[in-house]
Point group: C3
Chain length 205, copies 3
């Protein structure tokens, strides 16, 4: 199980590094700013999670995560050199896959450190949402988590599904947690699903 978790985590880091590089490309960044944005996206959420849980920050004792980011960012840069234009949805899909990985693995990390299922769901959400939140703040975009309906909701659902199932069927829990996040998020992008909280109000501000 541990080896599966480890490579799931690495895959999540790679996917978020790709999403960060795509945003850097859209924002016409250059130099190592691209790598900084890719890294912040990829390890920002997990770093905040480990700090809050009081655990050693995951990448400080295993440089493989940094190598993963560098390889993913460099391959994305090479690929982008042959593209004139990247649609926003490519970035959103990379981001959605990253959410699926981190919502489940963030919950897992909290559970395996002995925290309650309730805190595990919150930490899954923080792991998944904070990397992209820091990325968007740095790149001066409105954070997706605040403007996209169902963005945070998908992470909460994925982390909940994982947390509920993992005591009984760990591998199914991982698959179900990731799939539920991915399906809801892609559905929300494709079909503009939303979750209205406030009534329409266009007349002020």
């Amino acid at each position: 199980m541990d080896i599966l978790f480890y490579w799931t985590d690495q895959a999540g880091v790679a996917v978020f590094a790709i999403a960060g590089t795509l945003l850097a490309f859209r924002k016409h960044m250059d130099g190592f700013g691209v790598i900084i944005l890719a890294s912040t996206t990829a390890i920002g959420g997990g770093t905040v999670r480990d700090l809050i849980l009081g655990l050693p920050v995951f990448w400080t004792h295993d440089p493989t995560y940094i190598y993963t980011i560098l390889v993913a960012a460099v391959l994305t840069i090479v690929w982008l050199r042959y593209k004139a234009y990247i649609p926003m949805t490519t970035l959103q899909i990379a981001d959605a896959v990253g959410l699926a990985f981190f919502a489940t693995m963030g919950a897992e990390k909290a559970l395996s450190a002995g925290f309650s299922p309730f805190i595990a769901v919150i930490m899954g959400t923080i792991s998944a949402c904070f990397g992209g939140m820091i990325r968007d703040v740095l790149a001066r975009d409105v954070p997706m988590v605040l403007k996209s309906e169902l963005y945070a909701t998908t992470c909460i659902v994925g982390a909940m599904v994982y947390t509920l199932l993992v005591p009984y069927y760990p591998i199914i829990a991982l698959a179900a947690g990731m799939l539920s996040t991915l399906i809801i998020r892609l559905g929300a992008i494709r079909y503009q699903w939303s979750l209205p909280v406030f009534p329409d109000h266009h007349d002020h501000h």
Copy 2:
């Protein structure tokens, strides 16, 4: 005393959750983005304080704080459904009450962990200012702490009053620290008090 501190802390979290929800309403947010903004405002400052002091993050071992946020945010959402318009001052007043709670409780937490009075004043200020600072950065507003004169000053004064009085009269210290923060902040909003640092300079930039 501990039980008084505990409920003061919960009240501060509730008030800041209300302030976060009000800003989400003004910014036309929807879905769980509202809850994310409410939570970040409510526990952001205390989380940064606990991380810097090297203490366990307060809400990870007591889910009551998260329940408080959810209840405060949901009640605010219900109330907002019947309002067409929320004046900026409602948000500023909720924020001012939150500052009063957190400036004193942040100083208390540092003192009770054995840090010096000087560090206690700084931690009171960080507890009070950082939640709102993160909220404003996420919502892409100019942080109140940077644009409003006397914003940080009120937290520093409140934390100082508390820190000076608490060895002698703990309950009076709490009341005096909170009242001094609240009065200065509301006065600054109402009467546009300011603390000029730089001479006028309109001719450049």
Copy 3:
């Protein structure tokens, strides 16, 4: 050696406090907002570094750092009262000197805590870049690290030079690490050096 490191660290804090105050002046801030921006710039990077490394945050046990910030900020404010205009390059030069101090001292702190040279280079970069990054986000500027070519690169080079040389010649390592950061950064500002990552693409976004 320790005493040299200590004062190098204090000097770095002072220089970044000056850079933060200069930005506050350019942004027409007032009141304690100036001090908040100066402090965030000066100790933000080192605070993030200490949190990630799991060390006690450096300024919580030694108030001298805060006194250094206050003195540097107040002297800068007094000096600015006699100036009508501050060119952007003054801020960039103060920032460059700060980078030189923090890139080397950040690497040193990681090495002396027993982390690998690879992590030391990353922590030097984080120490140097994050204070200014938080400053720019709060002041709603595009972070220099993302828009200026070679900004992050200079920190990486300085931290690498220091990390490679310090086992053999500690004092030369400190001088060489700082000088290499400073020379590359000032050269990048003066001669517009850049490190293109993406081909030109003006036709979209």
